[in-house]
């Protein structure tokens, strides 16, 4: 790929980018959110048409104007959001867009090919299972198999490990090595430096749409070098000064929820004090989501007491909780946080649009909304063309900044943050962390629900561990070790 450029409106996503991939390469494409990694790959895969630039495959100019062209030329892509049909079986998903035999679907030979690929690269999958029944790691495996099924020789993986457990990541890496050994070229998009270091042999770094560095041998570099190349400045971990916690701001006493389709909370007690960050650790699906939703007033309380700033909340509801000073950073930014199809300005004032300053007597004040949003864009350095832009077009990091800006703007006393840095790059992650520590310094409280242990250990003053809807232990951070927390997360009762 040479001289690739693409802009969206006035935002230059890619400017004059060159990228070369050799057979047997695992090429790391590194960059912060919004640096243009995904855009570049979408041009290679035919999803976006480049404004300028040329693509050559095997030395021949390639005219790629649709994914069909890309697939034809042996380019496969595994998107960050899977492109699978959940209501179809594994096998049927592989056959979408494929010719059949004699006008019928050829399930027999497709099945044969599936098991062949599975054995060759260690990517086995049950052919008749519904995709909706597969674990996330298996769905990703299916995405990879889908590309190989079509004889892809160039495989693009867009942040493949963001959704994987460490064990699944290891399995993925094994498969990637097998593919590279087979002469395929793999492009690995990530901002997790240690992974880029572990799996790639070459690295291209993008920043603000341009290539800022090309490293021809990954072993020659360190994670620290990569981080600096990616952000354009040195990374200093945020400081957490010791501090005496104050009054209890958030208190849960023996709370329970009905559960419904998820996990039911049982006899759960926890308190968070002023000037304190309490982390909640746990394997995904042990009630963390339910805990966040309970405090946010989304799940009804079926037992126990919830107190916010000392006030007993009998029937938690989103609005009353918000009025008590709870800021909420939900796990899923776009489904329960911001609204993708609305302009950014609307998304950012939505929870408070019913009252001054954003509306008076039921009429919106557009000038005040605009002023507020522009101020926040400025303050949080949200990269967007302006408040009128559709929310959904922002990158993950910028979405999270917008969400943070919205929730922090009205000086919350408690911030409820679920997976606040999932999918964010180093720079954005640090930004989020700094805001939390800032709030802590000002006497606010943060309940930090996360699956990233590194983050929990970095920020928390105390660490609560959840297992099957209960908090099994709350440890002061000084007493918490990765090993101990790991055992608690797995449901092993604390012996210490």
């Amino acid at each position: 790929m040479r001289g690739m450029s693409k802009s969206f409106g006035s935002v230059h996503a890619n400017r004059d980018v060159d990228l070369i991939l050799y057979p047997g390469d695992v090429l790391g494409l590194l960059g912060e959110n919004g640096a243009g990694k995904t855009t570049l790959m979408n041009m290679l895969f035919g999803t976006y048409a480049p404004d300028s630039g040329t693509i050559e495959i095997d030395g021949r100019p390639a005219d790629i104007s649709s994914s069909a062209d890309a697939l034809e030329l042996g380019v496969g892509m595994v998107h960050q959001h899977f492109h699978l049909v959940p209501t179809l079986s594994v096998l049927d998903n592989l056959m979408i867009g494929r010719p059949g035999a004699g006008g019928r679907l050829d399930r027999t030979s497709a099945g044969k090919r599936l098991s062949e690929i599975g054995q060759r690269f260690g990517l086995e999958l049950p052919p008749d299972a519904m995709v909706s029944d597969l674990a996330v790691g298996e769905q990703q495996r299916l995405e990879i198999v889908k590309a190989l099924f079509r004889d892809a020789r160039i495989l693009i993986l867009d942040e493949p490990t963001a959704v994987l457990t460490p064990l699944e990541t290891e399995a993925l890496f094994t498969a990637l090595r097998a593919m590279a050994g087979d002469g395929l070229g793999v492009i690995f998009i990530s901002h997790k430096l240690y992974e880029v270091k572990a799996i790639t042999n070459r690295v291209v770094v993008l920043r603000l749409g341009r290539v800022t560095a090309t490293i021809d041998d990954t072993t020659d570099t360190t994670e620290r070098d990569l981080a600096e190349l990616m952000c354009g400045h040195e990374i200093v971990p945020p400081e957490k000064p010791p501090q005496e916690p104050g009054d209890v701001l958030l208190e849960l006493e023996g709370v329970a929820t009905a559960g419904g389709s998820g996990v039911a909370l049982r006899e759960l007690s926890l308190d968070v004090r002023a000037g304190e960050i309490v982390g909640v650790a746990g394997v995904s699906g042990n009630g963390q989501l339910e805990l966040a939703e309970l405090i946010a007033g989304i799940q009804p309380l079926t037992g126990g007491d919830l107190r916010i700033t000392g006030e007993l909340v009998l029937y938690p509801e989103p609005r009353s909780i918000q009025e008590l000073g709870v800021g909420r950073i939900p796990e899923d930014r776009l489904s329960t946080g911001l609204i993708g199809s609305l302009p950014l300005s609307d998304s950012m004032v939505l929870p408070r649009v019913h009252a001054p300053p954003f509306s008076r007597y039921g009429v919106l004040s557009h000038s005040r909304i605009r002023h507020f949003v522009e101020t926040q864009i400025e303050r949080f350095r949200i990269q967007t063309a302006g408040p009128h832009i559709r929310t959904g077009t922002l990158s993950g990091g910028n979405l999270q900044k917008a969400l943070l800006a919205r929730e922090l703007a009205f000086e919350p006393v408690v911030v409820l943050a679920a997976q606040p840095t999932r999918g964010l790059d180093v720079g954005a992650m640090q930004f989020v962390h700094e805001r939390f520590l800032e709030l802590r310094g000002q006497g606010g409280a943060v309940l930090l629900i996360s699956e990233d242990l590194e983050e929990l250990f970095l920020l928390s003053d105390r660490l609560a561990v959840m297992y099957e809807g209960r908090i099994v232990e709350v440890l002061p951070i000084e007493e918490a070790t990765v090993q101990r927390v790991g055992l608690l997360m797995a449901g092993v009762e604390d012996a210490a």
Partner: protein, 313 residues
């Protein structure tokens, strides 16, 4: 009730099948387009316009099958129009569909008047005759019900397994379902979402057209402005009732046919002395009741009603 013994006879069940036939055709049509993610609310108007064009073509050419062909062509063109509106322009499927129905209805009335004027007796044609199948029609009970029908009835019944085969066992059917469930996934697999949706819409239009023409050319032998009278809308409900599956759609159409035939007989028997409009209401009331019962568990194609744009996140 003695009356039911009198009603539930061979001729009654043959009538059920006859009444169900246009519904089977149009419901399958609607099912196909919805499986691809496009709701075709033009159905009522398409059926009416096709009933008119089919009748007119048959009237002037003297060939009934040419009439059917004209009706299906009409439907395909209307499907094409729906495609331009909902697929290419990405407009609201509801608004486009209702617009298409209004347009087609208007066109049907306009051209009928233009061609035939306002005669005191509506022009008619020699309608389709029943085609008894050799041997099979001699089977007692089943023979007269199943095998002494219009050719289009056989066609509609054969279409059900064919539709199931196309939908579940051909590459096109798989692509259609993928497009209706997750167009982005289909696109990433190299399927042209818009082409498949256009094809679905045109196929649906053809089947709707055949259904409409059945009414003006087999069920009756003339075109009247009330010939469809809501049957298209019923098909929309039947697709939901049939949970987007060909066999269940057939079941829904037969159930509707059963109730409609029943109310016709009850009306004619004069046993129950209530205004006949109440009888006419029956099948539609049934539709509403069924919808209320079933729609709770109905799971429409995930991308139904959603226009697909490529460069959007």
């Amino acid at each position: 009730m003695e009356i039911f013994g009198e009603i539930l006879q061979v001729g009654f069940f043959a009538a059920v099948l006859r009444i169900a036939t246009p519904l089977i055709l149009a419901t399958l049509g609607e099912m196909f387009t919805e499986r691809g993610g496009v709701l075709n609310l033009g159905i009522e108007g398409i059926m009416l316009l096709a009933a008119m064009t089919g009748f007119t073509a048959a009237y002037f050419s003297g060939s009934l099958w040419l009439g059917i062909l004209a009706a299906m062509l009409t439907g395909a063109l209307a499907g094409l129009l729906m495609g331009v509106l909902t697929v290419t322009l990405g407009l609201s499927q509801h608004v486009s569909g209702i617009g298409t129905t209004l347009l087609c209805t208007g066109l049907a009335f306009f051209f009928y008047r233009l061609i035939f004027g306002q005669p005191s007796l509506p022009p008619n044609i020699e309608a389709f005759k029943t085609v008894p199948l050799p041997l099979l029609s001699a089977i007692p009970i089943l023979g007269p019900i199943l095998f002494n029908q219009f050719a289009l009835v056989y066609g509609a019944l054969l279409l059900v397994p064919l539709a199931a085969l196309v939908l579940y066992d051909t590459p096109w059917g798989l692509n259609l379902r993928a497009v209706g469930e997750n167009p982005r996934a289909a696109d990433a697999a190299g399927v042209s979402v818009s082409r498949v949706r256009y094809q679905g819409l045109m196929l649906s239009g053809m089947l709707m057209g055949a259904g409409g023409a059945f009414l003006s050319m087999a069920q009756f032998n003339a075109f009247t402005f009330g010939v469809i009278s809501g049957r298209g809308w019923v098909c929309i409900a039947l697709v939901v009732f049939g949970q987007w599956s060909p066999w269940k759609c057939l079941g829904g159409a037969l159930l509707f046919g059963f109730v409609d035939a029943l109310q016709l007989r009850l009306q004619a028997s004069g046993v129950i002395d209530i205004p006949y409009q109440l009888f006419l209401m029956l099948p539609f009331v049934l539709t509403i009741v069924l919808m209320a019962l079933v729609s709770r568990s109905a799971r429409p194609p995930a991308a139904l009603l959603q226009p697909f744009r490529k460069e959007e996140r």
